[in-house]
């Protein structure tokens, strides 16, 4: 009997969820912004208790591994790694972008959108994003996402240009945006894409949540896509700034050259 604990701390609000083998989800979401470190264990405990199990009833520990806030990613991944190590459980790594897309899939399908695009604000016109196509059976029973543009760091203008091209290919297609990239780049989106061609996720489901991460983790665990805790790694999608500069050879001279 599977019971997977999933953590999502890559966005503004931390959350934890437990999903059972049948797909029943119990989750706890922080009411405070950026309270990940302080509040993490309380959220975990609340999710486990509301699922009516004990810690010993867990079978996997999953975490959203990014992209997103570097600090947030580290809190979730470290917590998951150590809990898995101590409880002797396998881990499941889930992309924050995939979790966000999955979390709005029902709304996107109901709104008749073809594309689901999670956007995470990476500042200075950059965004961590991916483009998925929403797929569903005619009775709307089975819904899934298939990736059409890989998850990576995009300039918002480049991403929108690629989306414009996709819209031109599919007459009347609509894009469903989610994530805090909407808050940062709404003006650019609205200035680039034709009116009526896109929809924004309502705020209640716009930000990262553990529940869809848990749902994806369940599918991955059922498919045997688990890793040892030591292999559960963050997906920062960006080098540290100093590493970028070291590679580019633009690290401060003050550091590199002695006076003599």
């Amino acid at each position: 009997m599977m019971n997977i604990l999933a953590l999502e701390t890559t966005g503004k609000y931390g959350s934890a969820a437990v999903i059972s083998g049948e797909g029943k989800v119990f989750s706890a979401v922080s009411a405070e912004e950026m309270n990940h470190l302080k509040g993490m264990i309380d959220l975990v405990d609340e999710a486990i208790k509301s699922a009516g199990i004990a810690k010993s009833g867990l079978t996997h520990v999953a975490a959203s591994v990014g992209p997103g806030s570097f600090t947030g990613i580290r809190i979730g991944v470290t917590t998951a790694r150590v809990m898995a190590q101590m409880l002797g459980l396998p881990c499941v790594g889930v992309s924050s972008l995939e979790g966000m897309a999955y979390g709005v899939l029902d709304d996107a399908v109901s709104a008749g959108a073809l594309y689901v695009v999670p956007l995470i604000n990476a500042r200075r016109h950059q965004t961590y994003a991916a483009v998925y196509e929403a797929q569903f059976t005619s009775d709307l029973e089975n819904r899934s996402l298939s990736s059409v543009m890989e998850e990576k760091q995009y300039m918002i203008e480049d991403l929108l240009e690629a989306l414009s091209a996709k819209l031109a290919e599919h007459d009347g297609a609509k894009i469903f945006f989610t994530g805090d990239g909407i808050d940062a780049y709404a003006e650019i989106i609205e200035g680039t894409l034709p009116e009526g061609s896109f929809i924004y996720a309502p705020e209640e489901i716009r930000y990262q949540l553990a529940a869809p991460v848990a749902e994806i983790a369940l599918r991955k665990a059922q498919a045997g896509q688990t890793v040892d805790y030591s292999e559960l790694m963050p997906e920062y999608m960006r080098l540290a700034e100093a590493e970028q500069r070291l590679k580019a050879g633009t690290l401060s001279d003050r550091i590199r050259k002695p006076v003599q």
């Binding site: 470190l37 302080k38 509040g39 993490m40 264990i41 309380d42 975990v44 405990d45 810690k55 570097f70 600090t71 580290r74 809190i75 991944v77 470290t78 917590t79 998951a80 790694r81 150590v82 809990m83 190590q85 101590m86 409880l87 805790y229 030591s230 790694m233 963050p234 920062y236 540290a240 700034e241 100093a242 590493e243 070291l246 690290l251 401060s252 003050r254 550091i255 590199r256 002695p258 006076v259 003599q260």
Partner: protein
């Protein structure tokens, strides 16, 4: 508990060492695992916080696992987990805190947050098993230069500290300027042994009469001016002499003030702590000056001067014994005061 001993796991990630240790009864080190990132940061001329945080995450599980294995215990056997929650680099601290909390929760163990500076002082309990407060503590490291009166296990009264650079920071800066590189402390120490400590007259900075504070930025300026002046005059710079005289000017003031503080508070012991407590000239000079006044100086061996988990375990043990109660909502506090 194992064999009647109270076992504490200490976790430390405040800067660039990922460390964990198991300590019995707050005093006896059963394991001490330190994974240093120094080779990684050397390429950047100093600790890069974002890189430090990333490396801590990659190492923390392995370091905790090895600390348990080396001690021959399991997580089940532990009675307490202690973790540094400040001061330090916030991104680095939070790896240790998140790991410690996850472990405490998963294994149902109490968790105590430890002030890194209290940890440095507690490092002395690990080797001087008879040592008990009260005593005067001198903490000298890359981030700190502090004189602290310690009347009891969990009481620390800061009497003085640096107003600008910490001693280790001053060493790092000068080492960089004269081309010795990072980390400055050990490199200056080594070069100074080959230099003539009376070759250059750097002024000692004692600040106001009776002050137990420090200031090293003026000394740094003196050294930079000296280097410029020599270069302009076309003279060769003797790196070893610069290292010896700069070091002498730093450690003499530290030694004088520590002895002065011990005398004023009638303490018969000075206990050293922190990375710069390994500086051989500081050890020698403070020993001489304190000896003249009948004051003993205790020093941890170099492995317990650098950041380590054992000192955190010891400090956590005494905090727990004094009735401090754990909380799983611990947060990292980068600017934590004494």
């Amino acid at each position: 508990m194992k064999d009647g001993k109270f076992l504490t796991l200490g976790i430390e990630t405040s800067c660039d060492e990922t460390a964990a240790s198991v300590v019995a009864d707050g005093r006896f080190v059963m394991s001490n695992v330190i994974s240093s990132q120094i080779d990684i940061h050397t390429a950047y001329g100093g600790v890069v916080p974002e890189i430090a945080s990333r490396k801590h995450l990659e190492k923390i599980n392995e370091v905790i696992g090895k600390a348990l294995d080396d001690a021959g215990v399991t997580a089940e056997d532990l009675d307490l987990i202690g973790v540094t929650y400040g001061p330090g680099l916030v991104g680095a601290l939070l790896i240790g805190v998140a790991a410690a909390k996850a472990m405490a929760y998963a294994c149902d163990k109490p968790l105590i947050g430890v002030n890194h500076m209290h940890g440095h002082i507690a490092a002395n309990y690990l080797e001087h098993h008879e040592l008990e407060p009260p005593f005067m503590a001198l903490i000298v490291s890359g981030g700190h230069t502090e004189i602290v009166n310690v009347p009891g296990y969990n009481k620390c009264e800061k009497l003085g500290g640096t107003r600008d650079d910490a001693a280790g920071e001053a060493f790092d800066k000068i080492a960089r300027v004269i081309g010795l590189g990072y980390p400055g402390g050990p490199k200056i120490d080594r070069a100074a042994k080959e230099g003539d400590a009376s070759a250059i007259a750097f002024k000692r900075v004692y600040l106001e009469q009776g002050s137990l504070d420090f200031s090293f930025s003026g000394l740094k300026t003196q050294a930079l001016n000296y280097l410029n002046q020599e270069r302009q005059a076309g003279r060769d710079i003797n790196v070893n002499d610069v290292a010896a005289n700069f070091q002498e000017a730093v450690v003499e003031v530290i030694a004088d003030k520590a002895v002065d503080a011990a005398e004023r508070y009638r303490q018969k012991r000075i206990v050293m702590a922190g990375g710069v407590a390994s500086n051989s000239r500081l050890r020698e000079l403070i020993g001489e000056k304190a000896g003249e006044k009948g004051i003993d100086v205790l020093k941890p061996s170099p492995v317990f001067c650098t950041d380590n988990g054992a000192m955190i375990a010891s400090a956590a043990y005494y905090a727990y014994k004094s009735g401090e109660r754990p909380a799983l909502d611990l947060d990292a506090v980068p600017g934590l005061e004494f």
